[in-house]
């Protein structure tokens, strides 16, 4: 009996397996799409997205510890998102594009209120997805957060479809006001067809004076690429780790690999799943 148990010692088994594997098969490195070094640190996803197939709110949140993730709940919620999208036309848009949103409002004339602004960020998972619009009306900055799947929203209009390198543009609060002043009578631009590639805005935005900033953008990680911070800093200021690690900084996050969330591999899986979901919904509609 003793010899038998020794034979099944876990370390021994693994050793044997490994030697076999090493001798029999040669290692081939898995291939990955190559990204530029500047793009690798953002959560920016390449290519255009069909919102019924892929949208940032389908990506499950990074919940820890691992056993608190409820995959079944995530799948069901994605299904509900698709059901809602089949009823209401929610167009494709990204942080940076200009939107007009019509909401039901009991106290407004005609029970409708319309707001136009630039989308600064999208946040949240599934039916709880939110996005923020910012506009400057008569010199006063106004920001409104809408729930994407809210039943109170009657109509979405994409006035200008834009995609920026950053996914969080809240630094536009401290930027030149011209980027967020949008007139309510702005006519919608002609929509790009789905097949055509959308150019990404890689230019820089002029910031206000550093003394007026509400936040230390130069200490943030990932660093905002579309903000023209080089006006106030030289490159060596960014590279100095001490500056990043001080109290307001997020510099340590750059190399804290366990806190990163790599969603590059998830896109294809989610697209397959959403295609299946669409088929399931069609089948259920036929039966009823």
């Amino acid at each position: 009996m003793r010899t038998m148990t020794r034979c099944f010692h876990p370390a021994y088994c693994e050793l044997r397996c490994c030697t076999q594997a090493r001798s029999s098969t040669t290692f081939t490195q898995p291939k990955r799409p190559t990204l530029k070094a500047t793009d690798s640190k953002t959560s920016f996803v390449e290519g255009r997205e069909d919102p019924k197939l892929f949208s940032p709110e389908y990506v499950p949140p990074l919940v820890r510890p691992e056993w608190h993730r409820n995959q079944l709940k995530y799948r069901l919620e994605r299904m509900d998102c698709l059901r809602r999208r089949n009823v209401v036309n929610i167009p494709e848009f990204y942080p940076g594009s200009i939107l007009g949103v019509t909401v039901y409002d009991a106290y407004a004339p005609g029970n409708k209120a319309r707001f136009v602004g630039r989308c600064l960020y999208r946040d949240g998972f599934g039916l709880g997805c939110k996005f923020m619009l910012r506009n400057i009306v008569e010199g006063e900055g106004i920001e409104i957060i809408y729930q994407l799947f809210s039943p109170a929203i009657l109509k979405y209009e994409v006035l200008r479809l834009e995609k920026w390198l950053d996914t969080d543009l809240r630094y536009l609060r401290d930027a030149d006001p011209e980027y967020c002043t949008i007139s309510f009578d702005m006519p919608p631009e002609a929509p790009l067809p789905q097949t055509e590639e959308l150019p990404v805005f890689k230019g820089k935005v002029k910031m206000k004076d550093r003394a007026v900033w509400g936040y230390n953008y130069h200490k943030a990680w990932p660093r905002p690429y579309n903000a023209y911070l080089e006006e106030y800093f030289v490159e060596e200021d960014f590279m100095e780790q001490h500056e990043l690690h001080t109290k307001g900084g997020h510099g340590h996050l750059e190399f804290d690999i366990c806190k990163h969330y790599d969603t590059r591999g998830l896109k294809e899986k989610l697209m397959e799943e959403m295609e299946l979901n669409q088929k399931r919904i069609n089948m259920a509609d036929k039966k009823s």
Partner: protein, 161 residues
């Protein structure tokens, strides 16, 4: 979950962000070099997560920009980097996520301050060192017999009726 965590936290503080990364970097490098290290349980448990993640990243290949950035930071010298790509990645191609193992050692009584340290051994799986004398589970207890039977039943192909 082991003690030392507040609710909802997964990572220990270990004296601040900067110190924590510095300490973990040393331990990860020692683990790559020696394949088996002996530390306190808290440090071993924290290093385990980072070692697993680093091997996961290295599996993506040397072409990836993210991989090169991270591996450059987390490995001190070229020998460790080469060992990571040429020895550890081929070894763990078939494994999924769990590349390390922790075994507990007796607690260490520090007499001068009358305090105890929980010591542990952290090792990479499939290492060439002689195996640790880890106590095995008795396969003849009632629970283990039932679990083994359930596992074998689960692995059998199911007949869809």
């Amino acid at each position: 979950m082991p003690r030392g965590f507040a609710h909802g936290n997964v990572f220990r503080k270990l004296g601040g962000h900067q110190r924590r990364l510095k300490l973990l970097k040393i331990l990860v490098n020692a683990l790559i070099k020696n394949e088996r290290i002996e530390t306190t349980f808290t440090k071993a448990h924290e290093t385990q997560k980072y070692m697993n993640r680093l091997i996961d990243i290295a599996k993506q290949g040397t072409d990836d920009a993210y991989t090169t950035d991270m591996v450059r930071y987390w490995t001190e010298d070229d020998s460790n980097k080469r060992k990571l790509f040429n020895v550890l990645v081929p070894r763990f191609t078939d494994h999924n996520g769990k590349y390390t193992r922790i075994a507990m050692l007796p607690t260490w009584h520090m007499k001068d301050i009358d305090d105890y340290k929980r010591m542990a051994v952290l090792e990479l799986k499939g290492n060439p060192l002689p195996p640790l004398p880890i106590k095995e589970d008795n396969p003849h207890t009632l629970q283990n017999v039932l679990i083994a039977a359930a596992k074998s039943e689960w692995k059998q192909p199911k007949n869809n009726v």
